[in-house]
């Protein structure tokens, strides 16, 4: 099979699948090595990017997914007038930041850093599937441990946790608040 054809097949698959599509699943379906599939996907992704197409491909944690190009958001909004997704509250963002850099982490640990009760923010993040229970700590009461999800990576345009800026970058305290 020509590489060009494989790319087209993958493109059709991505369209149909909708959800993030696992490289391995594509490789199994086409009976081709996953490395080759990855290469095709990356090429395809670049083709979309170079031409500034309305559709883009994003990669999240070894999965690929079609999505719209955010450049054209205003027109999409005009067309569909979708309910504006209200962003996260300051509290939820703070909790998310703490979880992202300290996972797995328990609720009391989160609250110790923030100095306030955080159950509401934690529940919001769980509802939005940005964080999830990843296990329990083997000590008295077996407190729940939380970690971030793939949905979190996707919502913030990260391919993996490695892409998070290093904590040291935030050591300086002169960041002005908006």
């Amino acid at each position: 099979m020509e590489e060009k054809e494989v790319k087209s097949i993958i493109e059709a698959m991505l369209f149909v699948w909708g959800d993030p599509l696992n490289i391995k699943l594509v490789a199994d379906t086409l009976d081709l090595p996953p490395e080759f599939i990855r290469k095709c996907l990356i090429d395809l992704k670049k083709e979309y990017e170079i031409n500034d197409r309305g559709i883009q491909i994003i990669e999240v944690n070894n999965h690929f997914q079609l999505c719209t190009n955010n450049k054209y958001f205003d027109y999409i909004q005009k067309l569909c007038a979708p309910a504006q997704n209200k962003g996260l509250t300051q509290a939820a963002l703070e909790v998310l930041a703490i979880v992202a850099y300290n996972q797995p982490i328990t609720r009391p640990e989160i609250e110790a850093i923030r100095g306030v009760k955080s159950d509401k923010a934690i529940n919001t993040l769980i509802e939005k599937e940005l964080i999830a229970e990843t296990g329990r700590l083997e000590k008295t009461g077996r407190p729940i441990l939380y970690g971030t999800t793939d949905t979190f990576l996707k919502s913030f345009g990260l391919n993996s946790l490695k892409e998070l800026p290093s904590l040291e970058e935030f050591e300086n305290l002169d960041v002005t608040d908006k």
Binding site: F15, V16, W17, G18, D19, N22, L25, Q56, I58, Q65, L66, C67, T68, N69, N70, F73, I76, P82, N85, G87, L88, Q90, A91, L93, E94, L96, A97, I98, A100, Y101, I113, R114, G115, V116, K117, E129, K154, S155, F156, G157, P165, L167, F170, E171, L173, V175, D177, K178
Partner: protein, 252 residues
């Protein structure tokens, strides 16, 4: 003559403290505790005026500040004693450490917010309905009756018996925790995010554990009810296949 006073809302005592420190333009490593504590208490007074609920955390911090203030007022120990306790801690040290840690995450949060603004402008498409691909000779869940599932289930149970009879080892197990139906439902859902179908029998990962078999079976029934999965049998007495139901499968 009336005037409006706007009272800023803070995410908690650290947030408020930081605001006060920045406003007073003082060095975080050398906080004039007396002034800051006064301003802090003043803010709590204002909160009362506005009938805002003052959470206990704010009060604890006020107490902490006052405690630090009083420690700072204590006369410094004599020279001789300093030799005994070389490093006498600055009572503010612990508070400063926690403040700085908090500030770090507050900065990250604002960075996340910027990213969020970009990425909420992206849309995804729902998965297609794959029904058209399903051949008509396949039995749908409607005509695959519960008794078929029960039969398959009984086969599993009897196989489990055989297996456990053949390795008769009398060990009394103390189980720490048994998996709940909710957990199992989540597990199965997660599996179907990555896969399209699987054989009924494969669902029962651990054929020795009676509890897990029952829980899995109940989870399966629940997911069929929720229309998350469909169960098919390609031919009579054939293997039962569990498939993700594309119709109701919104991106979770």
């Amino acid at each position: 003559m009336s005037y409006n006073v706007k009272l800023e809302v803070f995410e908690g005592p650290f947030d408020l403290l930081f605001h006060l420190i920045e406003k007073s333009k003082v060095d975080i490593y050398n906080i004039p505790i007396k002034d800051i504590a006064e301003q802090y208490v003043q803010y709590i007074e204002d909160m009362k005026k506005f009938d805002l609920e003052i959470t206990s955390e704010f009060l604890v911090m006020a107490a902490t500040l006052i405690e630090i203030k009083s420690k700072m007022l204590l006369p410094k120990k004599q020279e001789k004693q300093i030799e005994m306790e070389l490093d006498q801690e600055d009572p503010r040290q612990d508070l400063v450490k926690r403040l700085i840690a908090y500030k770090k995450y507050k900065n990250i949060a604002s960075k996340l917010k910027d990213r969020e603004e970009v990425y909420t402008k992206i849309f995804y498409k729902q998965p297609e309905q794959f029904d058209e691909f399903l051949k008509s000779n396949e039995k749908e869940v409607e005509d695959l009756e519960i008794k078929d599932l029960v039969k398959a289930f009984n086969r599993l149970i009897s196989r489990r018996k055989k297996v456990s009879e053949s390795n008769v080892i009398d060990i009394r197990k103390i189980k720490r925790e048994e998996i709940t139906i909710e957990d199992k439902i989540e597990q199965i859902k997660k599996f179907f995010k990555e896969h399209v179908a699987l054989a009924f029998e494969e669902l029962f990962a651990n054929p020795f554990d009676r509890n897990e078999i029952v829980v899995t079976f109940l989870a399966l029934l629940e997911l069929i009810k929720l229309k998350f999965i469909v169960v098919q049998q390609n031919k009579i007495f054939g293997d039962i296949v569990v498939k993700r139901n594309i119709i109701s499968n919104e991106v979770q």
